[in-house]
Amino acid sequence: MNEEKYIVPTATFQERPEDYELKILVPGVGKAEAELHIEGRTLTLKTHAKYQNPAGFKQVASEFERANYAMSVDLPEMADTAALSAKLENGVLTVTVKKRVEKQAKKIEIA
């Protein structure tokens, strides 16, 4: 695997009543090989899997790329970045972010 090269993974973002769910497809990447960072509202993913073609084999078909993934996404303002959880299973990284609970009703000034 070319360590310098990153590809942007396929991802879906879904809003649910109480949270947001971000699903990122990172086939070939294990839990220990993915890094997730949050800075402000920007969530960044970078993977560092070390894939090598089977030794002594010649590649005769190449329909998908074995590269590392990198992407960043700005979470909505309603997202509570402190209540963020992530799990990586079978090459799919699922990030769940709770929505901020607005306890106080907003007062609107009438001009």
Binding site: L25, V26, P27, G28, V29, G30, N53, P54, G56, F57, K58, Q59, V60, A61, S62, E63, F64, R66, E89, N90, G91, V92
Partner: protein, 137 residues
């Protein structure tokens, strides 16, 4: 009718498209998500097929083997017919058959999922039938 009239001006373009049709078809099918992409590795004694299936596990995929081909298909969820209560007949959403360059030893085929990539290892079958005999003298 003049024979020249039978020449389709588009035939050249068609031929061009035909030459690449397989590539186009594969790309289109992939774009539509109709079947998963594969990487294939080959050496003298074995073939390794990697299938990209993020989110899938062994129970979601069906693998079948012919002497010189391997088929991969998704395993549709078991559903029961509402009226009869019997298991409904379901078609796999996709299937792919890969022809292999040599016969494989079905007993030694090994398939394993790792992080959403299915790796199928297909060792070449021992050559049978033909035996070279050294000529003495």
């Amino acid at each position: 009718m003049n024979t020249l009239m039978n020449i389709n001006p588009w035939s050249i373009l068609n031929d061009l498209l035909d030459a690449n049709s397989r590539a186009f078809r594969n790309m289109r099918a992939r774009a539509a998500g109709r079947f998963p992409p594969v990487n294939v590795y080959l050496d003298d004694d074995a073939i390794i097929v990697d299938v990209e299936l993020p989110g899938k596990t062994a129970k979601d995929v069906e693998l079948s083997l012919e002497p010189q081909a391997v088929s991969i298909a998704d395993r549709p969820a078991e559903t029961t017919d509402a009226e009869t209560g019997k298991a409904a007949e379901t078609q796999p959403a996709w299937s792919r058959r890969l022809e292999l360059p040599f016969r494989v030893d079905a007993d030694k085929v090994n398939a394993k999922f790792a992080n959403g990539i299915l790796r199928i290892e297909l060792p070449r079958a021992e050559k049978t039938g033909v035996r070279r005999i050294a000529i003495e003298g």
